[in-house]
């Protein structure tokens, strides 16, 4: 069994390759929070955090934490040059109004049409919805960052969602620690796969039905 943190970092690094210079990107809780720490300080991306900041920088060094300068996971962050603070009204106007180029979100499950469940597990003490539904409703593009299987080795890519849906809007890309899938017109298409696994192996650990792209690249 590989270190879970290592798997998460791998997913975060792969997602960074999807960013284009100048993109305004919302980073959700969980795996996406690794991203600002994996970049050079002078990178060309603008990170939005929905608690009221455009221009989120990496984690501060120990002793430099400011508890009024936090990300959506309530962890201390720093400021990029040219950053701006705003209140929650403005933040979600930006999100719903289509001004965010890309949102990177975690998920509990994704179905084969690309719809996401990421806010509730029936009969479990999860009493939170946060900003995920707003991001799914309004971001121009959505990437899901999640491990391929859960702690019980159960696949998170399913034919039908078992958990409550977060939005009728399908996401655009799903990056797991094993594979990368694109959603095109309601179809899940395998784009990249780790060298450690064959397509048959992947089908065994993936409940969702997926198609194979003309060229499947190695996910390194």
């Amino acid at each position: 069994m590989r270190d879970i943190r290592e798997l998460k970092l791998r997913i975060a690094k792969r997602i960074i390759r999807e960013f284009r210079p100048g993109d305004c990107i919302n980073l959700g809780v969980g795996i996406p929070t690794f991203i600002p720490d994996l970049l050079e300080p002078e990178h060309p991306f603008i990170f939005q955090t929905e608690n009221g900041l455009l221009g989120m920088g990496p984690t501060p060094s120990k002793g430099k934490e400011d508890w009024d300068l936090l990300n959506a996971s309530k962890r201390p962050i720093t400021l990029q040059k040219g950053s701006v603070f705003f209140d929650s009204v403005e933040s979600f106007a930006m999100i719903r109004g289509g001004h965010i180029d890309l949102a990177v979100l975690g998920a509990l499950q994704v179905n084969q049409e690309g719809q996401v469940a990421n806010w509730m597990i029936p009969d479990a003490p999860v009493l939170g919805v946060g900003g995920a539904m707003d991001l799914l409703a309004g971001a121009k593009k959505v990437i899901i960052a999640m491990t391929h299987v859960d702690k019980a080795d159960k696949t998170k890519l399913v034919q039908h969602l078992e958990y409550p849906i977060s939005s009728i809007r399908p996401v655009d890309l799903i990056v797991t620690d094993i594979a990368v899938f694109e959603i095109v017109s309601g179809h899940m298409i395998l784009k990249e796969l780790t060298e450690r696994m064959s397509i048959e192996d992947l089908r065994r650990i993936t409940d969702a039905k997926f198609e194979i792209a003309d060229q499947v690249h190695v996910y390194d």
Binding site: T49, E50, N51, G52, L53, D66, W67, D68, L69, L70, K74, F85, F86, D87, S88, V89, S91, F92, I95, R96, M120, P125, V126, L127, G128, V129, G130, G131, A132, M133, D134, A137, G138, P164, I165, S166, S167, I168
Partner: protein, 232 residues
């Protein structure tokens, strides 16, 4: 010739005086994202009173046992309306045994409902939540081919907010991401108490920098530093 008028009194009161305005059974908006922008002095002051059966409107219910977590622990809250309570174990526990009623709202809808109420708007249509469990029973409208659901404004009897600095007459400025839900909440309650680090004389805040105009603020309370605040 100008008329002589009486000068306004300062809005500053002690936490104890201010928190008496919160009465049993009222709805109370409380600012903050976790503990950042959360009015900890006012929250602590309420615990010295017997006030209970409150409906709390706040994004979270405190964090790490602090802030509103103490109201949950002391069973002062009847119902909580907000977007994310998962990390508050006591809230989850009380919800499970039926002691605490909970209404979850997507964060953007939550704050827009407050904004609407505070600006005289009865409701609005949003795409957020369409087709989910949170849309059940809500009116659906198709506008330009897109599905929206109707959400109503959300008001409270009283709002407890947290800002950085105020002038004597109640204009407010904030500190970094501690601004969050506070400016909108200042507009959506019948009575607004702002907890601040410092109160300066009128004229010392730059009018270009003020975020919350004084018209919204009824009382000011100075934040009392607490050793528990070192956090995490």
């Amino acid at each position: 010739m100008s008329l002589k008028t009486k000068k306004l009194d300062s809005k500053v009161q002690t936490p104890h005086e201010a928190i008496r305005f919160v009465k049993n059974g009222q709805s109370v908006m409380v600012g903050g994202f976790g503990l950042s922008g959360h009015p900890l002095t006012l929250i602590d002051a309420l615990l010295e009173m017997d006030t209970r059966d409150l409906t709390v409107i706040s994004n979270n219910l405190g964090e790490n046992g602090k802030g509103l977590s103490s109201w949950v622990r002391e069973k002062r809250i009847k119902k909580a309306i907000g977007s994310y309570f998962t990390t508050n174990k006591e809230a989850v526990e009380q919800y499970k045994n039926g002691r605490l009623e909970i209404e979850l709202i997507p964060q953007g809808t939550f704050i827009e409902r407050i904004r609407a109420a505070g600006s005289g708007i009865g409701g609005f249509y949003t795409r957020t939540g369409v087709g989910t469990e949170l849309a059940k029973g809500k009116e659906v409208k198709i506008i330009d081919g897109v599905r929206y659901i109707l959400e109503f404004g959300l008001r409270a009897d009283i709002a407890l907010i947290r800002a950085h600095k105020a002038d004597q007459s109640g204009n407010l400025i904030y500190n970094k991401t501690a601004r969050n839900f506070n400016p909108a909440m200042a507009t959506a309650a019948d009575f607004v108490i702002a907890e601040v680090d410092e109160v300066v004389e009128d004229g010392l805040l730059d009018p270009e920098q003020i975020i919350t105009p004084k018209v919204y603020v009824d009382i000011l309370v100075i934040h009392q530093k607490d050793k528990r605040e070192s956090n995490a």
